[in-house]
């Protein structure tokens, strides 16, 4: 069981992914093959990736290999270290779930007119691209696989291209992915021109002046931040993620964004080497903004998948807050604290991959059985699809960072890291970091509100439309996919010490030190800094909760009072409530919309329909669009409008141009 078995597994994963996309070609004739062969292969690829990741993490070795690809003087090399291993694991876990979930889900498309070849084929390529990004050891292979990832996911976004929303989203997505890719390329270029070569070793050795290092950092931050959907570069995300098929949305939100995080970590913490705390401040601010704006936007949505996409923006914001803290601490020479923040960020990477994929799969299940994405039409699904309801509830609890689930652990660690700010010398930082953590707290509370809204409106209450009332249980495969992720959510929440023990290899290899004291007091106690400072024992919390609940049940469910009588709702004795009397998602968000309104441009209008009934319209626009995107587009438009005057259509004018060019050139040279 040496390091090369891990690499072998990784290679196997890539090959299986490619194979799954290859077999999908035959779906032109028999669409069934995607369900019966391609997606199972996809799941197997995920399994292999998971195995590779775990092996790497458990015996922290580094293994490399050379591929018969790449440029003549730069053969593509792959390298599997703890960081890659962790992200391989992330990719694997979600891919396994997708492999379980997909077959039943794509069945719905087999009667559709969109070719399943594209769906299966590009899904496989997508996975292969992500795996290779994580494995790449030189900028060329990295960029190639990075763009393969973007391109194939673009085709997946454009899969149901008959509705204009998908086309628009796909275009915006590809455009921004391309620009981001160029920025990353430029960043690598800076490193390469100093380090003399596009291999990562050369870049690690690059002797950068701090100025150029900052340039490279900014470029990388723009590029990877655009992929990670950080505000204000997030415009593509809420457009692209919802319109893709749900298992793809799960991959994009759950995994692809993490690959962007991987790229950022690889670039900044590994290649760039000695970090500067100013970068950390930038990352903190951007991360905080993303977290806040993301969650507020999510809270205001009524389209379930769009809401989840915005909440991805928020979670990536949290991850980058963690990374920013790490940068600040490392930059000011507090390595242990930096490690703590870093581990917190990695932990949240894992968690977000789990619960966001889980939630997207749940949304897919709803879509599958009700063909509905609009919250305002849902309701009462818990009683119609109990398993999905249960798993979705677990997902909501996890993402709302409530103990004892996994989301809470990573946020707790982030808070702990932030609370060590008192050790910093600079008073500015000491006051900035707590403010950021206050933003984090606000975010957490708003997330809870968001998912109370989602769950309460979608799964509780009564169905708001007929097709939702006819919803029924989804097939076993889809439930299994969700159950796998939900179980892991609970596991990661209850055994944080074990998880951190596994993650620890990453900082140990990357930053030279792990979190020795995290599990110093046995697996029961999570003590990131020291027991006196803070301690959390998730297992005991779970145990006590269970004990107390059992006690309460036991003591109260005895004797005559056990009986529960069913009756109509009371509702203060008003008329019997109808589904239309329920609080809608829009109504639920209204108070918060009032409070935080000025962050968005909101247009409300109350009018009357033909039949005299009131109709209420609400449109919520993203301010960043007007601030950052529109000007650029206008500039390009006007520039091209000016330039096309060259093509006036009169041949004499053209000749005039030739003459003028000639004369000017002659003038120049003599």
């Amino acid at each position: 069981m040496n390091a090369h078995t891990a690499l072998a597994f990784a290679a196997l994963a890539v090959l299986l992914a490619l194979l799954s996309s290859a077999v999908s070609v035959f779906a032109v004739r028999t669409p069934r093959i995607v369900r019966t062969l391609a997606l199972p292969l996809f799941g197997l690829a995920g399994l292999a990736a998971l195995a590779a990741g775990l092996i790497t993490l458990f015996q922290d070795g580094v293994s490399t290999a050379t591929l018969p690809l790449g440029l003549p003087w730069l053969p593509s090399r792959v390298r599997l270290d703890a960081l890659s291993g962790l992200f391989l694991g992330v990719i694997g876990v979600v891919s396994v779930a997708v492999g379980l979930y997909g077959p039943a889900y794509v069945r719905g498309f087999e009667r559709g007119r969109d070719s399943l070849t594209a769906l299966g084929g590009f899904a496989g390529l997508f996975l292969a691209g992500m795996l290779l990004v994580v494995l790449a050891d030189d900028a060329f292979l990295f960029m190639v696989s990075w763009e393969v990832m973007s391109l194939s996911s673009y085709f997946l976004v454009a899969f149901q291209h008959e509705n204009a929303a998908n086309r628009r989203a796909a275009f915006l997505y590809l455009l921004m992915a391309h620009i981001g890719g160029l920025a990353i390329l430029l960043g690598y270029g800076v490193l390469a021109s100093f380090g003399g070569g596009f291999a990562f070793e050369a870049m690690r050795a690059a002797p950068l002046t701090s100025g150029w290092a900052s340039v490279a950092f900014v470029l990388a931050f723009i590029g990877f931040g655009m992929k990670a959907g950080l505000v204000p570069l997030h415009a593509w995300l809420p457009e692209a993620h919802p319109v893709a098929p749900s298992h793809i949305s799960a991959l994009m939100s759950g995994v692809m964004l993490k690959v962007a995080v991987y790229g950022f970590i690889r670039f900044v913490f590994d290649l760039l080497g000695d970090v500067q705390w100013q970068w950390g401040v930038a990352v903190l601010v951007i991360g905080g903004a993303s977290a806040l704006i993301g969650v507020l936007a999510a809270l205001l949505q009524t389209d379930l998948k769009r809401l989840l996409a915005y909440s991805s923006v928020e979670n990536l914001g949290i991850i980058f807050i963690g990374l920013g803290l790490a940068l600040v601490f490392l930059g000011t020479g507090h390595a242990p604290l930096g490690t703590l923040a870093f581990v917190a960020a990695l932990y949240h990477v894992l968690n977000h991959a789990l619960f966001k994929s889980l939630l997207f799969l749940g949304a897919g299940a709803i879509l599958h059985s009700t063909h509905e994405r609009d919250l305002e039409q849902m309701g009462g699904l818990l009683r119609r699809m109990p398993w999905t309801g249960l798993f979705f509830l677990l997902g909501c609890i996890s993402i709302s960072a409530l103990p004892p689930f996994n989301g809470f652990v990573s946020e707790w660690l982030t808070f702990q890291a932030a609370l060590q700010a008192w050790q910093l010398e600079s008073g500015v930082l000491r006051s900035l970091i707590p403010i950021v953590s206050a933003v984090l707290a606000l975010t957490g509370a708003l997330v809870a509100a968001t998912f109370v809204k989602v769950y309460g409106v979608a799964f509780l209450g009564q169905a708001r439309s007929r097709h939702v009332r006819r919803a029924r249980q989804v097939p076993f495969g889809m439930r299994a996919g969700q159950g796998w992720l939900a179980g892991l959510c609970l596991l990661f929440g209850v055994l944080p010490t074990a998880v951190i023990g596994v993650i620890n290899d990453v900082p140990r290899q990357l930053l030279g030190a792990g979190l020795p004291q995290a599990a110093a007091h046995g697996w029961l106690w999570l003590t990131p800094v020291s027991p006196a400072t803070a301690s959390y024992s998730a297992p005991m919390v779970v145990m006590l909760l269970a004990l107390l609940a059992a006690a309460a049940l036991w003591s109260l469910r005895r004797g005559a009072v056990r009986r529960v009588r069913r009756c109509d709702p009371w509702d203060c004795g008003f008329a019997p409530p109808t589904p239309r009397m329920q609080y809608t998602a829009t109504a639920f968000a209204q108070p918060i919309r009032q409070v935080f309104g000025l962050l968005f441009n909101i247009e409300e209008s109350v009018g009357r329909r033909e039949d005299g009934t009131l109709r209420y319209q609400l449109s919520i626009g993203d301010r960043t669009w007007g601030l950052f995107y529109a000007p650029v587009m206008r500039a390009v438009e006007s520039a091209s409008r000016r330039v096309v005057r060259l093509q006036s259509g009169n041949v004499r004018v053209y000749l005039g141009w030739t003459l003028a060019t000639l004369v000017v050139l002659l003038w120049i040279i003599s």
Partner: protein, 233 residues
Amino acid sequence: MSITELPLLQQIVLVLAAIVLFTSFVLLAQARLVAAIHAFAWQGALVAAVTTVVAATGQTPHLYFSALLTLALKALLIPWMLHRLTRRLAIDRHVESLRRPALVIMAAVALVIFSYWLVLPIVQQELAYTRNIVAISLAVVLIGLLMMVFRQQAVAQVLGFMSMENGLFLAAVSATAGMPLVVELGVAFDVLVAMVLFGVFFFQIRDSIDSLNVDRLNRLTETTEEDVAGEGG
């Protein structure tokens, strides 16, 4: 150096070159098409003459041949073809006067000075007169181009094009005592084919826009939104 120090033949070359330059001014200003064609023929003849003289001076016998070629092609064949075309196109009475002729002429003069200024740094030549010949022929070329810019009439544009070719010939023979024969033949062949094709195009253009005014050839453009030019197929 002053012209008096030059041998007679070279003086003749200079004189002829000067007249060539003059003819291209005539071409530029000439309003009547037929007259312009005549002027072009004269220019061709002069170039041929220069070629002969240079052949007489130097020891490059093949220049006689190319002089003959030039005479046949530029002074006789092409003008004759243009004549026939104009007659068949019924534009031999066509008159097209330049807008703001004074300005154009001034521009041409400026070009002459410019081209002289350009060749000044050329110092290597033992005989400066070749350099001045280069200047003259450069001026002829540029004026030909200028003519194409300012004449809207297709035939006139072709005349401009051909006079550019004359300028090239002048440079070739007088400055460098003739290019290798292969090249000269190739060039001559190309010019001839070009002329034939021009003839073909005159008719095609007339058929499509029943005029030979190149300003009317403005369908293919990106500028305006509403016009749907450029969609052939």
